[in-house]
């Protein structure tokens, strides 16, 4: 059966409990793993007051879907959900939620980790951090890479 994929970019607050309810019931899947990424109040030793996420929607959704489809195939996942925020976020807000279902736990853990790692490295989403001293900086993912096909690097 084709894996179920749910990729979204949302401008409103992520309701993580509702996202959990959106996960389908798949009778052949016995493992569920989720990752939630939240806005921290500190980064590289600087006090963060809020974040702005900017998204190149058309390409971000396309690339996110490619990552999820690749992960579903590679890790035999029955469901992959990846939802990311855009706009202004406060400390404590959820920025990203990845949820996967698989037959067994190992594939669920590995598949979930693969999706969040690839999302951070490849999907055109940017983060501006605002600091307590009034300054702001566009931050950079350390794994940002030049164009490359999806691979299993880093597993």
């Amino acid at each position: 059966m084709e894996p179920l994929i749910d990729c979204r970019i949302l401008e409103t607050r992520l309701d993580v409990l509702q996202l959990r309810l959106d996960v389908p019931s798949l009778p052949d899947c016995g493992g569920y793993v989720a990752f939630e990424g939240w806005v921290r109040n500190i980064n590289h030793g600087r006090a963060v007051t809020r974040l702005d996420y900017e998204v190149y929607d058309a390409l971000a959704l396309k690339e996110l879907r490619r990552i999820c489809e690749f992960a579903a195939d590679r890790f035999k996942l029955g469901f992959v959900g990846a939802v990311h925020r855009k706009g202004q976020l406060a400390v404590g807000d959820a920025a990203v939620v990845v949820q996967v279902l698989s037959r067994h736990r190992r594939e669920a853990f590995e598949g979930c980790r693969y999706v969040i790692d690839q999302l951070k490295a490849r999907v055109p989403i940017w983060k501006k951090e605002f600091y307590e001293d009034g300054s702001a900086v566009w931050t950079q993912c350390h794994e940002h890479t030049s164009p490359a096909p999806l691979t299993l690097d880093g597993l």
Binding site: Y56, H84, P124, I125, Q140, C141, S146
Partner: protein, 82 residues
């Protein structure tokens, strides 16, 4: 021959350009990387060609992509999702 391409700016590049996009005239077949270098000089983009990715018509491409009339062009600075 001239071609008009539509550029969209995001994140750091949008801040430095002071706008979210613009239409510019290029030579038909001009590589995307040459357009980036011209814009980097004009707006003071600090990123080199190895630091950015190129998207043409909402899909990843490469710096040597030959531009044609009506293309949408995005230069992608280092990403930071998650």
């Amino acid at each position: 021959m001239k071609a008009t391409v539509s550029i969209r700016y995001f994140a750091l590049l949008r801040d430095l350009a002071g706008k979210s996009g613009e239409d510019i005239e290029v030579l038909q077949g001009e590589p995307a990387s040459r357009v980036y270098m011209a814009l980097a000089a004009k707006y003071g983009f600090p990123l080199g060609l190895t630091d950015i990715r190129v998207a043409v018509n909402d899909d990843f491409s490469t710096g040597d992509h030959p531009l044609k009339d009506g293309d949408t062009l995005v230069f992608i600075p280092p990403v930071a999702g998650g």
